[in-house]
Symmetry: C2
Subunit: 160 residues, 2 copies
DNA sequence: GGAATGTAGTTGACGTGTCATCTGTTCTGA
DNA sequence: TCAGAACAGATGACACGTCAACTACATTCC
């Protein structure tokens, strides 16, 4: 019986993982689609615009931006290049550091963000938050932070 | 006080969503990195190889493959093109349908998959499954299927 | 002050994902 | 039987992400 039990436990766990991954994929796809349809921007655009909007002076160094969103520098750089070409943000010179630049929202970027925020928040509620029971929210929150913690440790271990 | 309560509840929920998204992103990145390092393939490659491997005759129509993995046809097609160029799979003619083709594993594809399976499973255990309490597993499983369900309904509604 | 070193950011190559469109086959029904 | 609809898949254009260089400014320390 132990064999059966073990493999059944195993099967349930793989199903859990697959379901979790599939759920995230579909959710992200749908949120992206709606954001694109309603406001003409992507989730990546949204993250950058929102982070800039919340920043003290509505402007950030690329490095700080990456830090806040959790992206590596080259991803930030590529994303900014695309957003500049779409007119959502601008790169300006940085007074205090000759290497760096400052990223600022354009009027169009600000408008796109404001147009997106309400719908995006509603979509996240309707497709995710409102479907969770309180204990599920608790479980997901604590599981997320534990897994994230583990990943960070594992990364630091690798780097050493 | 209700304002405070509402906004606090709101804040906790956004933190939950952000944490969940960040956790998934980091987890997927790390699994990808390890798969790439240990077996020289991506998660996308892995999904295709495994699905082919599990198929009755070790071969599938692109459409059926997409169905099983949950990908749309153009994604399948692009992925297959890349995998063919890397020698992991082959496209052969389909006898029974002049439009279609059949995808089969190459020897290299089979070897890559077998080399990847153990490490990949261990990584998923170590970075995810083993970190979850039983009740968290239960919560994530039921939440995933409920959200997925909702997304499917929403898609069908859109299509109509 | 000047060589070594670190840091901020960009770039190119490549793999991945989506949408719209196109080609060619199969099916269907008058 | 044959015109048109449905279907299987491929393709091009473009957005996104990662890794490995690379540029150029800033620091440090002799």
């Amino acid at each position: 019986m132990s064999t059966t039990e073990v493999s059944e436990v195993g099967a349930a766990e793989w199903a859990l993982f697959d379901g979790f991954v599939a759920m995230h994929a579909e959710l992200a796809r749908e949120l992206d689609r709606r954001l694109q349809r309603d406001a003409g921007i992507s989730q990546a655009d949204y993250a950058v615009l929102l982070t800039l909007f919340k920043a003290p002076e509505r402007q950030l160094r690329p490095g700080a931006l990456g830090e806040l969103i959790g992206w590596e520098k080259s991803r930030v750089s590529h994303q900014l290049t695309r957003m500049v070409s779409r007119g959502l943000v601008e790169r300006i010179e940085c007074d205090t550091d000759g290497r760096g630049s400052l990223v600022v929202l354009t009027r169009a970027g600000r408008r796109a963000l404001l147009g997106a925020m309400r719908d995006h928040a509603l979509a996240i509620r309707a497709l995710f938050l409102d479907l969770l029971e309180p204990d599920e929210k608790q479980a997901i929150a604590s599981a997320s932070s534990r897994v994230l913690q583990r990943l960070t440790e594992s990364r630091e271990l690798d780097a050493s």
